[in-house]
Subunit: 342 residues, 3 copies
């Protein structure tokens, strides 16, 4: 289908890799070690798949020098095969067509400034004072609220909502269903009912960020909610108002960060992990899946909470005992004292 083709030698040249074998081997796509054919390139970076190398029918394999023995294909040797593969594979990705200009079904406010090179898809709505940068792509059904900015070369895949006072940097990628700049959840309790705090801040998203499908990022109460550059959020993540996320931090699906928390740079937040409000996490903190962070973390490292999965009947017995753990600890101390006194 694809007319895109590269020789192994061309790929080696382009990405500074070492060819072993037939440098003239043509590649027109990528695949897994198990599934790739003779005109496809594959990779080995996870030891779990090493056993598949000998039998691969891929024409070219990207791998580390240590794995080169026994590879039946042309090799591209890389210091980090996963990174090298990622860059090569990008050559074979075909994005949906996004012609410059405004689709006739889109509704664009007269006061909006839309670059002539931007693409505004079907049924998009662009509000007063919004700015759409050069080469930006708004897929179908995107809503760009008043005073929002979409930076150059950013791509909103489809059905993305920027509510109000949202600024996206350059090359930001946002997936369908994401809602950015919605009201933060601010309430004051007035004797017998709730009074809403108006959410007067905005959201700043740095260059090269990625925001997953159905992820929500609320705008700040007074100051802004901030994602620094190259922050990577998976699907269904919740970022509350006034959160600050440092550059290059990645969060897996269904993670949630409560209001005014401050996450460092190069952090990794696992799936469905949570961070309570007003906490601070240092740079290079990793939180494992489903853990809850209930205190600030000052030191880089890996942190966890939770208990292991067990067969339900065993688990019930252990879980029931958890309710008496404090008592057990005290009884243990008593026994130790008794023992010392013997």
């Amino acid at each position: 289908m694809s007319a895109i083709q590269y020789t192994a030698a061309e790929l080696a040249e382009r990405f500074d890799l070492l060819v072993k074998g037939d440098g003239g081997r043509l590649v027109d796509g990528v695949g897994t070690l198990a599934g790739a054919g003779a005109s496809q390139l594959s990779f080995l970076s996870n030891g779990k798949y090493a056993s598949q190398l000998a039998a691969t029918r891929a024409g070219v394999v990207v791998l580390s020098a240590a794995d080169a023995a026994g590879c039946p294909a042309t090799m591209l040797v890389a210091a980090d095969p996963y990174v090298a593969y990622a860059k090569i594979a990008a050559l074979f990705e075909r994005l949906p067509a996004a012609p410059a200009g405004i689709h006739p079904s889109a509704v664009v406010a007269a006061s909006a400034r839309v670059s002539a090179s931007a693409s505004i898809g079907p049924c998009c709505v662009v509000g007063d004072g919004a700015v759409i940068g050069d080469g930006a792509v708004l897929g179908p059904h995107c809503i760009i609220g008043e005073q929002c900015t979409v930076g150059a070369q950013s791509r909103l895949v489809a059905r993305v909502t920027l509510v109000t006072r949202v600024t996206l940097g350059r090359r930001v990628l946002v997936h369908p269903g994401a809602v950015i700049g919605s009201d933060g959840f601010g309430l004051a309790f007035d004797r017998d009912h709730w009074v809403k705090l108006p959410q007067l801040g905005g959201v700043l998203i740095g260059d090269d960020c990625e925001i997953g499908a159905n992820t929500t990022i609320d705008r700040g109460a007074l100051d802004d909610t901030v994602l620094e550059e190259d922050v990577r959020l998976d699907n269904q993540i919740q970022i509350a108002h006034n959160v600050h996320v440092g550059a290059h931090t990645a969060m897996a699906g269904c993670a949630a960060v409560a209001g005014s928390a401050r996450i460092g740079r190069y952090c990794m937040i696992g799936g469905n992990a949570g961070v309570l409000g007003h906490l601070e996490l240092a740079d290079r903190v990793t939180i494992t899946a489903k853990s809850l962070v209930t205190r600030s973390i000052r030191e880089p490292g890996e942190y966890s909470s939770g208990v292991p999965l067990q067969e339900n009947l065993l688990w019930r017995k252990n879980a029931a005992r958890f309710k008496h753990l404090d008592e057990y600890a005290r009884r243990l101390s008593v026994l130790e004292k008794d023992s010392d006194n013997d």
Copy 2:
């Protein structure tokens, strides 16, 4: 309102049930034991509601033979009253009108193939090469990306997004806000920043699957993400790239499955439960609510993690002790040795 009416005898005949009482009793709707009136049918399948049977004003009750004593209404005796009730109730459901044809506000690519019997609702966007099968219904605001297929008799209630390379089987039901075929979360770390792995696979959804509101299912990195037939997903579920879900598996709201995990057939995944990446779950595995699966499960059965809810002050004491559990276990062993040596 509804002109639909059946006699008890007609329902018995249709669903192979036994009538006890007045077979000519007319039914024009369904209701709870507590709320149904003389022209309505109710059911008893959960022992919790048995005490409501004697006082019910329902005209007809579906129940098991064991519960028949003391029922004041005409009875339809069923081996499984819940299943029988489900089938009867479906007769009284009225779906929104979905006339065949393409709404004038929809934007359909010239290269898309839309069955003449399909219904394409207001503001739908159907991309290049998409295929919409016979009798398929796209409610308002659905987006069907390039190369996506919606099988015959499938129904996308409203505002469903199929991003790219998504194939839905027949009779698939998808609720609003669902995003299927979005980019998987694939990143390689290149010294000081992230490089995105292009997501070149697709999503295959089998016949008779149901996908809940705001659920997200990512497309595969190379191979496809797969749901076999009759998989039932509740709302706000996250299915990552290259996950494989076996037939007839059901997941409750907010469950999440990480990349490349393989879930068996007839599994039950509880609300907000999680499964880590690359794991395998056998057939007929049940995971209780909010549990985290951190290892593959080879045997059918029920599995759990977590600790029980307590009043906060008690919980704090026990939770604080958890941080020393390893130490307690060692101290316990020391005491036992001392005791043996006495």
Copy 3:
């Protein structure tokens, strides 16, 4: 920008506060203690920020009498400064323009009743028999299903979906991506496959409720799912079919309530907390973040589950021991008996 201005004395009069200092001080906006300028009003309600008071450049500060010493600005003394600030700040919020009338791109059924003072935004779809009340605002891309009602002065910010048989009270605020009235997750297992239970109930949302972005609220199976008045739901919350939520209850992001659970009034449900189906929670119950409620709660108070976060290597040791907690408890009892027998 904003032409809105008030003197400190005017604000004091309006909200029944005590002025200390220059009552003629003009305020044209609000800000944090650290960020507000001379024409802005700030507030102090959280002791954490008390140290910022002396250095604030805000023209006016709302605070309690106890905090008044050392404030360099004009003061508005309030019994509850947070509530007073919330009400004042609302004066400075500017909502997007929402002119009465129906946008030409909207698709409104002939049988729908839309108040002349309502605003129907671009690409909205309003179904048969729907009712849109006086002064209600539907932002862009809202879908109002058949037989749904939007009460007077309610505001659907953008891209809200009311599926079927949904009734919103007055002054209800719904954020983008929310799906209300989707099918509840009702299935009966028929030997080897699932049979769907038709979801024939609706959803009733009381006056002054707020529903967060991408939150889902399913309609009832037979009776309705109900939120009483002034219920406040944050983003990505899941409310299953037939849940009943009492007035003034608030839930933080990613909380989830399973089918037919009944939550009292004035409850506080923490972020990502869960409540299993068919349970009842009394009034004024607080559940802390990520806790799972597995039994009904009859007494007001605060409840928790979970274990504390630790550095991963320590956590692993303790978590591994959890699997033997029942055994440890029994071994402890044996030792105690032995000790008694000494």
